[in-house]
């Protein structure tokens, strides 16, 4: 009962565009739509299924959020998730940021040199990293690393009845499994992105100084000159939202998985694909929100 994949199966190509990819892996496994059905019936049913999936996700989200605020709180689990997300993602996020900063410096130099504006390289690097690339790339990397593992872990617990076992031991699965992951995602992604910002700018600095022969002091001066607090803050807000979305999708798809190894595999795919797409969508929306002329 993967919300997205289900809505894809029952619907025609029209609905597919709207949430492209969210479950393309699964659709061919379950396949088969009634070919003789009238156009209206098909779209009508697709719409209903879409509404149902949306409703289910909304219900899951509100339930999950409400459990984040009500005791008992499992601090031990929250800490473990925070370490998993925040600490163990550092290498992959750090490397991504380093190379992105480096390539940004090279590419923007190539571009700006054509109209004698090489001086803007440092500014472009720091603005692109803090406002855009830091949060988005860190988000996508963490979606692959953490979203997948959350979906697989909760999905396996689901199909082996461990989630049911939690309930029979007077433990609410939402509080025990979902809430710690949401809290950790929401808090640790901004931290990761802050680190990514610093490393990314440092990567640009390395290239600027050792490859493009900028004066180190001048490069650093240019980095700070046009940077505003809002640039960094908007990036961190994005990061918080992305972290929440990654954890939510991981938990949701894991929680909905049915039917053994195949179900868990599909849940993992759906978690990564849907959180990646939602990251890009929210990235645009939040940019629009902070954007001013």
């Amino acid at each position: 009962m993967h919300g997205f994949s289900r809505s894809l199966n029952a619907s025609g190509p029209n609905a597919v565009n709207r949430q492209a990819g969210a479950g393309e892996r699964v659709s061919h496994l379950q396949g088969c739509h009634g070919g003789s059905m009238g156009f209206l019936t098909t779209t009508g049913r697709a719409f209903l299924v879409f509404l149902e999936a949306t409703g289910r996700l909304m219900l899951f989200t509100s339930l999950a959020i409400s459990h984040c605020f009500r005791p008992p709180f499992y601090f031990r689990l929250i800490t473990r998730q925070m370490i998993d997300i925040g600490y163990y993602s550092l290498p992959v996020v750090g490397l991504t940021a380093l190379f992105t900063g480096m390539v940004l410096a090279l590419q923007s130099y190539t571009g700006f040199a054509r109209f004698q504006a090489e001086g803007a390289v440092a500014t472009v690097v720091v603005l692109s990293i803090t406002r855009e690339l830091g949060p988005v790339l860190a988000g996508l990397m963490v979606a692959g690393r953490i979203g997948a593992s959350m979906a697989a872990e909760i999905g396996t617990m689901r199909v082996t009845e461990q989630v049911d076992a939690l309930s029979t031991l007077a433990t609410n699965p939402f509080k025990y499994l979902v809430a710690p992951r949401l809290i950790a995602g929401l808090t640790m992604l901004p931290f990761l992105v802050l680190v990514a910002d610093i490393i990314g700018v440092f990567g640009g600095f390395l290239i600027g100084v050792y490859r493009l022969d900028f004066n180190p002091a001048a490069y650093i001066g240019r980095t700070w000159e046009y940077l505003e607090p809002m640039d960094v803050i908007s990036g961190l807000v994005k990061a918080g939202v992305f972290g929440f979305v990654i954890a939510l999708m991981g938990c949701y798809h894991g929680y909905q998985s049915r039917g053994g190894a195949q179900g868990v595999g599909a849940a993992t795919t759906n978690a990564v694909v849907s959180s990646s797409i939602l990251i890009l969508v929210f990235n645009y929306l939040i940019t629009g929100l902070f954007f001013s002329r």
Partner: protein, 277 residues
């Protein structure tokens, strides 16, 4: 205790079978549950008395596990009533549901041990999370419970994936009884075990249920196990209880479905959904 005399036998003098003077521990009335168009429970009625051990027998896929999950509130029944100690539980909120859940222990068909936690933490889970016991204290209780199901102290530190099937079942049993529940559900406790281990589990179930004075509802298709642990037996077929009575009457129930089942015959009123070429 008069209740004991009353229910252990199942057919008290002067009362028709299945009627109880006091409130039954668990009462399911006219329970319906369908998945899509597939009807699984179709007006199921069942009563389990205080400190009674009832075994529900029935073929695979007849809805035995679904019945237990509805009773536990893990699945929502489509209609019907579920009463625990006379309290209707089908419409309970989250908090009341958690309170009622504390009365239950459940042994899952596949053991359902938490594979991220060592054995002792599995057993102590309900004590630590549910009853807020200190971890070191809970560990002592866990080791005690493991000993009660015949597992050595060294097992406590292992992870569930390092155990054999029979050991996993025993750990699951220890976990189910650790919080001293009033009602314990056993979902196919002996399925997939060799006959000797199955008998060990049967003995453990009898012992644990006796020690706790708990009410037990077990489901199985293993007749040896059913005869051993049951005070009363009920048979489920097509989503309904079609026969129930004391274990002593199982061999002359006069019910052709029951006869076919306990003798394991392919011919009879129960037709398996097998395609004949």
């Amino acid at each position: 205790m008069s209740a004991m005399n009353y229910f252990a036998d199942g057919t008290p003098v002067g009362t028709p079978p299945g009627t109880f003077v006091e409130t039954p521990k668990l009462r399911l009335t006219n329970l319906h549950k369908a998945f899509g168009s597939k009807v699984v429970l179709n007006g199921l009625d069942l009563e389990v008395g205080r400190a009674e051990s009832l075994v529900v027998i029935g073929g695979s896929g007849t809805g035995k596990s679904v019945m237990l999950k509805c009773a536990l509130g893990l699945l929502r029944a489509d209609s019907g009533s579920i009463q625990i100690d006379g309290e209707e539980t089908t419409r309970l909120g989250t908090r009341d549901r958690e309170r009622v859940m504390r009365k239950f222990g459940m042994l899952f068909q596949g053991a359902a041990l938490f594979d991220s936690l060592p054995v002792w933490e599995n057993v102590a889970f309900g004590l630590i999370q549910g009853q807020k016991m200190r971890r070191d204290q809970a560990k002592e209780v866990a080791v005690e419970k493991l000993a009660a199901v015949g597992l050595a102290k060294e097992v406590a530190e292992l992870f569930p994936s390092e155990l054999s099937g029979g050991m996993q079942k025993r750990v699951a049993l220890a976990r189910a009884i650790a919080t001293q529940p009033e009602i314990i559900f056993f979902d196919e406790p002996t399925t997939g075990l060799d006959p000797i281990m199955a008998d060990v589990i049967n003995d453990l179930i009898i012992k644990c249920v006796k020690d706790l004075g708990a009410t037990a509802l077990s489901i199985t298709h293993d007749m040896a196990s059913a005869r051993k642990i049951a005070d009363r037996i009920a048979m489920i077929y097509k989503g309904k209880i079609i026969w129930h009575g004391p274990v002593s009457e199982i061999d002359n129930s006069g019910n052709p479905y029951v006869d076919q089942f306990i003798h394991g015959r392919a011919d009879g009123p129960i037709q398996m959904e097998v395609m004949h070429p």
